[in-house]
């Protein structure tokens, strides 16, 4: 029985947060920061012919008005990913060409909001309005080119060609797809459309910047990737990276949104040019129209099977809408195939092809699931459709075909499923909801019909061979530890979880481990909290660092115990020489180490994993539909998750519950609608409907833990997978209730109503 790992410990910052302590970016920003706001393009595609900020500059309190002429001219990417980035270098801080409604035209910095708002209205802009490219299905080789510039570049060839509006493309083949399809008794094919869903974290994007006494640019930002922001801003400002320091305070949520440096460059350039502290806080409106949402996608999935239900071949083609800029576009698309097809084992062939295109719409970025979500909606819907076509229970089709522990996953980098309890996840989820009694549907006798629908899901644990996390731990007075991490807690509680892992290794209480915040000057390097890497990758760095630290503790104890460190055992509090039974306390060793010492009780280690063991889960929805109106009510959603060893059961449960409700939002309530000029209509929480606590139904979550040998204490990851099951599960529940198959989200009463009408 572990003492710290697999315990539901309160987050270290819980009491500060529930009592409203001022710990977020806008709470700690210094008084007197210049307030920075952006003038935004009303056109989806335009050139700035003339821009004149001279009248705006005259407004009392205005410090500067910046246009494209005032900024460095080299292009960069704002995608938070390991260098060299796979995203194209297609951004400028301010550009002459505007590529989506809301694109930044100019920046104004002034002493308060009122004068800045006034100045914004006084900037004179003459636009040459160009025809916008709004339909991603027509983007490739369109006459309208989003990025015609000669200095567009990709550091790594991902099959892009900006002249064709193409960012990335690829074809992956395994086996002989055509031959296997020809032999299949049943083939199901469908096209699935998802939109640019917003992470909609409660704290919008914000940062403040200032020059420190050495003239270095300090950026305090609500970011998931401080180290990437350092590099991105240095690149954008064309200054040395040594001149930039990034500090991350408490963050009010991220979900991937803040894995793109959406706006740090704006206050940064103001401070860089004026020498003065600057602050920018995005409104919710800006966070809805000029942020970093999920990629809109059209995913075509084809499944071929025998009449008994053995899946023999899967093909996935993803058409990916990057929007105006290519952050995370070449990367997210790859998950739509690798992390959907790999749910199944035993197929003889697969093909995964994709094209990623530019359009004059909001630039997409990283959002929990990172492309797997869109792919799983397609593949799981197709498998559900296969079940219906075969007249088989969708659960039975999964039982026949799902990937099993130990199996090779040819669509998942040829890794083996070293830890997988997906079969137990599905079996338990079925039990929890009463699948056998409820599938496919039951008429309730009052014009309503209840039904169930299921989906499997997977994700990954860090990006193998790339994601790197380092940790350092120091022993202090009396033997308390300080642990420095570069991983970014955005509310998930990773500070606490990593302390739990350390506490288990060092055999102490997690309260004895103080976790320091992230500062690029002093924290060990971490790629950041994304790709579900923190528990699995950084957690392993914690384990390694503890092992290294314990060695040094033993060496230090050996001095006072007068024996070989190989003969000393450490139980977290006492160091005992097994030969002489002499003992010294950690407290004494710690205090003694600060006097006349040439060695440090300090260790730092880094970890990168060659593998990325997927977490797995099964999710089942129960819904009720009003046959007259089409109204759909989600009664309950159950999920069983295999994330390996659960480090903190309470926090893990909340991750699942939160992810499920985000998935429910995407499935039923959230929508992105553009008008004919490319303006997003869902530009507020009034129009972009997040699930409220009245919309979720009963959510129930359990764990069926495997043990992953390459993870800390057997852990994998949980951060992203949790959003992937609701959309396909609810869609199939709708089919099971009504015979209406919906392939575009969101699933609404009107769509069900129309479907029912069409079936009459």
């Amino acid at each position: 029985m572990m003492k710290a790992v697999n315990q539901s410990i309160m987050k270290k910052d819980a009491m500060a947060l529930v009592t409203g302590k001022p710990v977020y970016t806008d709470d700690i920003a210094p008084q007197g920061c210049l307030i920075v706001k952006a003038l935004r393009s009303p056109h989806a595609h335009a050139l700035i012919k003339k821009i004149d900020g001279s009248i705006a500059k005259k407004v009392p309190g205005i410090e500067c008005v910046l246009t494209h002429a005032d900024v460095p001219q080299s292009r960069f990417t704002i995608a938070g990913q390991t260098f060299p980035e796979l995203s194209p270098y297609d951004r400028k801080i301010l550009d002459e060409r505007l590529r989506f409604v809301g694109d930044a035209v100019a920046l104004v910095a002034g002493s308060d909001e009122k004068c800045v708002d006034k100045a914004l209205k006084l900037i004179k802009v003459e636009y040459e309005v160009l025809e916008p490219l709004l339909d991603f299905r027509k983007a490739k080789d369109n006459a309208v080119v989003v990025h015609p510039e000669a200095d567009w570049k990709e550091l790594i060839d991902v099959g892009g060609d900006n002249k064709r509006n193409l960012i990335a493309s690829n074809k992956i083949n395994y086996g002989d797809v055509e031959a296997v399809l020809a032999k299949c008794d049943v083939v199901v094919s469908g096209s699935y459309h998802t939109k640019q869903y917003q992470q909609a974290m409660m704290e919008t994007f914000r940062a403040y910047t200032y020059l420190d006494l050495h003239g270095r640019l300090v950026i305090v930002s609500s970011t998931q990737t401080p180290f990437h922001v350092r590099r991105i801003i240095a690149t954008a400002l064309e200054i040395s990276k040594a001149k930039v320091r990034v500090i991350k305070p408490r963050i009010g949520g991220g979900f991937g949104a803040k894995q793109t440096a959406v706006m740090e460059m704006y206050p940064a350039i103001v401070t860089h040019l004026t020498g003065k502290p600057a602050k920018m806080v995005y409104s919710r409106y800006e966070s809805q129209i000029a942020s970093s949402p999920r990629h809109e996608a059209e995913v075509k999935a084809t499944i071929g099977a025998t009449r008994d239900g053995d899946i023999k071949v899967i093909t996935v083609h993803s058409l990916w809408n990057a929007g105006a800029f290519g952050e995370h576009s070449p990367t997210t698309v790859t998950l739509s195939g690798h992390k959907s097809i790999s749910l199944y084992g035993g197929f003889e062939a697969f093909r995964f092809t994709y094209e990623v295109v530019y359009t004059n719409t909001i630039a997409a970025g990283a959002y929990r699931g990172y492309g797997a979500t869109q792919g799983i909606f397609a593949v799981e819907s197709a498998v559900n459709e296969l079940a219906a076509k075969l007249g088989q229970d969708p659960a039975k089709i999964r039982e026949r075909n799902m990937v099993r522990e130990g199996q090779l996953m040819p669509a998942y980098f040829n890794e083996h499923a070293t830890s997988c309890t997906l079969d137990r996840c599905l079996a338990r989820a079925k039990e929890m909801i009463g699948w056998d009694e409820k599938y496919p549907s039951r008429a309730m006798g009052n014009g309503k019909i209840r039904s169930v629908g299921l989906s499997l899901a997977m994700q990954s644990s860090g990006i193998n061979n790339i994601d790197t996390g380092a940790v350092s731990i120091k022993v202090n007075d009396d033997g308390f530890y300080t642990m420095a991490i570069g991983a970014t807690d955005m509310g998930t509680g990773c500070d606490t979880i990593l302390a739990q892992i350390a506490a288990e290794c060092l055999e102490c209480s997690p309260d004895d481990i103080i976790v320091n915040g992230v500062d690029t000057d002093t924290s060990p390097y971490d790629c950041g909290s994304y790709a579900s890497s923190t528990t699995y990758v950084t957690g392993m760095a914690v384990v390694k660092t503890c092992e290294a630290l314990k060695k040094r503790i033993l060496l230090e104890a050996a001095k006072s115990l007068h024996c070989d460190s190989a003969d000393i055992v450490f139980d977290g509090k006492l160091l005992t020489c097994v030969k002489t039974e002499a003992q010294v306390s950690l407290k004494d060793v710690a205090n003694g180490s600060m006097c006349g010492n040439n060695t440090t009780l300090f260790a730092t280690e880094s970890h990168c994993s060659p593998v990325s063991p997927p977490p797995f889960m099964a999710g089942i929805a129960e819904i009720e539909i009003d046959r007259e109106t089409g109204q759909i009510e989600l009664l309950q959603f159950v999920a069983v998750v295999d994330c390996g060893t659960v480090i903190n059961p309470a926090l893990a449960k909340v991750q699942v519950e939160g992810g499920l409700v985000q998935g429910i939002g995407m499935a039923m309530f959230e929508d992105v609608v553009l008008d004919e000029r490319g303006k997003i209509a869902n530009d507020s929480f009034m129009q972009y409907r997040l699930p409220t606590r009245l919309d979720t139904g009963k959510i129930r979550v359990e764990f069926a833990s495997s043990y992953e040998p390459s993870g800390p204490f057997g852990a994998k990851s949980i951060g992203e997978i949790v959003i992937n099951t609701p959309a396909p599960a609810i869609a199939d529940a709708v089919y099971n209730a009504t015979g209406v198959r919906l392939k575009e989200l969101p699933i609404t009463a009107e769509k069900i109503f129309r479907g029912l009408q069409a079936l009459k």
Partner: protein, 154 residues
């Protein structure tokens, strides 16, 4: 305009601009617990009490508090710690950005409703959005808190 009012139990007289919102005013006075999450009165993050009733401070013109009592989480620290511990035990604090407005509304709810059902709790709190938790752990925290109150444990 110069007005007098009570803020967290203290009598204050201050000059306030005609179109300042209560939210902006409170943050300018150091009540940083009051958060802004939207511009359309949908999120509930800015919830404070005005004469004991939970209101959206983003939508209250600051001058409207003349002669009235305003309470923010800064003025309810002891109660926040008691209820907040139940949140912490469920892990439901998460990013914490929705916490102040949520806690304000929960503390208002327990004064207004006696023995609320789960449905009544959700209805009362429907104006408090949260993106991290999916709300289930909030409910567990509230029910544990209410049960502890029943027992006289808190």
């Amino acid at each position: 305009m110069m007005i007098g009012f009570w803020l967290n139990g203290k009598k204050i007289t201050d000059e306030i601009a005609a179109d300042m919102s209560l939210l902006k005013y409170l943050r300018s006075k150091g009540c940083y617990s009051v958060k802004c999450g939207c511009e359309t009165t949908n999120c509930g993050l800015c919830t404070v009490w005005l004469d004991e009733k939970p209101v959206l401070s983003c939508a209250v013109p600051a001058l409207r508090i003349e002669g009235r009592k305003v309470v923010t989480l800064e003025g309810l620290q002891e109660e926040a710690k008691v209820f907040g511990r139940f949140m912490g035990e469920e892990g439901s604090d998460q990013c914490g950005f929705c916490n102040p407005g949520f806690v304000m509304n929960v503390l208002a709810m327990v004064r207004e409703l006696k023995n609320p059902t789960e449905a009544e709790i959700n209805a009362y709190l429907s104006g408090n959005l949260c993106r991290c938790t999916g709300y289930a752990s909030h409910m567990r925290a509230i029910q544990n808190f209410l049960a502890a109150k029943q027992r006289g444990a808190v």
